[in-house]
């Protein structure tokens, strides 16, 4: 992953926000990596349990379901931060630099708005699931708990794209995200 250069940071936000942003990025990474490892551990434990003790954990499936939601929505923000969301850039790439900068600002703005709208819908949805009192059949915990990552991840993604708007308007380069410049040569 390409890290920020100091000159980029100057264009960015006030220090406390930069600090907050950096920690947020680390938290997302931790949730992603930790989530994947937990999923592996959980699934392997079930296999081992079945072989050695003739016992299937009836919660394995539900724990994995929780982890998938967590990984997906923590990852949406993390992917936005690193400019990794899939898009078709064939026409975009033919535009001159200024055109691409403005178009990217527009795309990031549109994406941010969509993310904020979804955040709102997901909060409402969680509310209704919480009201219904549904519980996970095996773990017997409220179903809405497994959805809390959804609005968090969507809101963080929206903020990432909003910052990308400013980044493109303020700078002289095209930014796919707050940290990544356009181009696929960032490996």
């Amino acid at each position: 992953m390409s890290e920020q250069r100091p000159s980029d940071r100057a264009l960015q936000l006030p220090a406390p926000l930069v600090w907050l942003d950096r920690w947020l990025g680390r938290a997302e990474a931790l949730i992603l990596g930790g989530g994947v490892l937990l999923m592996a551990l959980n699934t392997v434990a079930n296999v081992v349990g079945r072989f050695l003790f003739q016992y299937s954990f009836f919660f394995t499936e539900e724990v994995n379901r929780i982890l998938i939601v967590m990984i997906t929505f923590a990852g949406v923000g993390y992917a936005a931060r690193h400019g990794r969301h899939i898009r078709m850039s064939a026409l975009f790439d033919t535009l001159p630099l200024t055109g691409r900068r403005w178009l990217m600002a527009f795309i990031a703005l549109g994406t941010a708005l969509v993310m904020f709208a979804l955040t709102w819908f997901s909060l409402r949805y969680i509310g209704s699931v919480a009201d219904s009192g549904r519980v996970l059949p095996a773990l017997q915990i409220p179903v809405w708990w497994i959805f809390v990552w959804v609005p968090l991840g969507l809101a963080v993604t929206g903020i990432q794209y909003l910052m990308t708007v400013f980044k493109n308007l303020a700078g002289h380069d095209v930014y796919l995200s707050t940290q990544v410049k356009d181009g696929y040569d960032d490996r």
Binding site: A29, L32, V36, A40, A90, G110, A117, F121, Y184
Partner: protein
């Protein structure tokens, strides 16, 4: 409404919006048209959750993780080196091996996305190094992985069998013939491609060299044993086999080979999580899009206007192929099967068609649809894992799609391609 949804999607796509946004906005439009406001939009989120709910999806991150560990460590290199010692001197040999590996891995694992990652990530660099063009390599990996839909166990066939009340065993057997026919086509194309593009071959290896390579690969050969033996032998479900592969990869690379350090595991898990998220958010958004299409009964409306009742058996087969082809271009294949199969059921019956043949043809269309632009889960996976632009990933696709369409035409003309094994087994 349909036109507006598809139109908006294409415009946003061309402008360069993230793919998830194009799907979500198209679904927004559908919700607005159906409910006249934003009150019911919560159900987009419900469908997001439904999209990433299937327990079998867990196999995807698990195989990505195992493949990444193997590729960064020694296992993948040693396996490939062994294969190359045997087929390196054959023109197009590497491409043919890649296609075969994708087909078999996909068949067994049940996940075409996992296949793109697990087979694609170690083999793509070798193919590039050997002189194949990237667009060819990517298209080969994506399309060969999708043959797996036709080879048991196939979730698409199970669902078709339940919805249409057709024997799943017969479907499984009937899929094998067309599956290998397509693999044969791809192999032939690989050979022709390698000839035309003068892809160099390696010198033929001696038997002692081969033997040495096999010995070096003896530990990593445990992977095919876990996957093939474990799943067909009834030891694991595909998801569990994936997790056991992770465990085995960790043991090999961290303990036996000492190729990686513990901190690498965290880095690899992080990148696995990232790829998973990028693909799964599209699965989620795709589910919301599919839901509104299904709720508005759009397929029913379109098909009602076609007047299929008068078409003969061949006409019905062609109509089914076209409908599923188009459906799978935009909508999740499983949903397409669930929605369209009952709609076609009466015409299939009145045309006196063999439901097994229809099932195989539909599964073939599902395979084509998952690999064809604009929307295909395996395309997304390839973009996420290989980090190449969308256009580059799909550039090499047309010859493969043509071959798949040819296979569909052959299947309609000569149903025995699918049915002879079935008739042999169930006569």
């Amino acid at each position: 409404m349909t036109a507006l949804m598809v139109g908006t999607m294409i415009v946003l796509l061309l402008l360069g919006f993230p793919m998830m946004v194009t799907l979500i906005v198209a679904a927004f439009i559908g919700f607005l048209a159906m409910f006249g406001g934003v009150d019911q939009m919560d159900f987009m989120i419900q469908q997001f959750m439904a999209g990433i709910r299937p327990a079998s999806l867990v196999a995807v991150p698990m195989f990505i993780l195992a493949a990444d560990i193997m590729t960064r460590g020694h296992s993948a290199d040693r396996l490939i080196e062994m294969v190359m010692k045997f087929i390196g001197h054959v023109r197009g040999g590497l491409a043919i091996s890649t296609a075969t590996a994708c087909t078999l891995f996909g068949a067994v694992s049940g996940s075409t996305q996992a296949t793109v990652v697990a087979v694609g990530s170690p083999l793509r660099p070798k193919m590039l190094k050997a002189g194949y063009k990237d667009s060819f390599v990517l298209a080969l990996i994506i399309n060969a992985s999708d043959i797996a839909f036709l080879i048991p166990p196939s979730i698409g066939m199970i669902i078709y069998g339940v919805v249409s009340n057709t024997s799943i065993s017969e479907l499984f057997i009937a899929g094998v013939g067309p599956g290998f026919l397509i693999l044969g086509m791809f192999a032939l194309y690989s050979y022709v491609y390698a000839r035309i593009h003068q892809v160099p071959t390696e010198a033929r290896a001696s038997w002692p060299e081969r033997w040495r390579a096999v010995r070096r690969a003896i530990w990593p050969l445990g992977f095919p044993v876990i996957i093939v033996g474990g799943i067909y032998g009834g030891v694991f479900s595909p998801t569990e086999a994936a997790a056991v592969c992770v465990l085995y990869a960790v043991i090999l690379e961290f303990i036996v080979f000492r190729a990686l350090k513990p901190v690498d595991l965290y880095t690899i898990a992080k990148s696995t999580g990232l790829i998973t998220a990028v693909v799964f958010i599209l699965v989620a958004a795709g589910a919301a899009f599919s839901w509104i299409i299904s709720f508005a009964q759009i397929p029913q409306a379109i098909l009602a206007s076609l007047g299929l009742a008068e078409a003969g058996p061949t006409g019905v087969l062609i109509a089914i192929s076209v409908a599923f082809f188009i459906g799978c271009m935009f909508v999740d294949p499983i949903v397409v099967i669930l929605v369209l199969v009952p709609i076609f059921a009466p015409v299939v019956e009145s045309a006196g068609l063999d439901p097994v043949l229809v099932g195989v043809l539909i599964t073939l269309q599902v395979a084509i649809g998952s690999a064809t632009p604009p929307f295909g889960c395996d395309i997304f996976t390839a973009i996420a894992i290989f980090r190449r632009p969308y256009m580059e990933v799909i550039r090499g696709t047309p010859p493969f799609v043509l071959m798949l369409i040819l296979a569909a035409v052959l299947l309609i003309m000569f149903p025995q391609i699918a049915l002879f094994l079935r008739d042999l087994a169930f006569a």
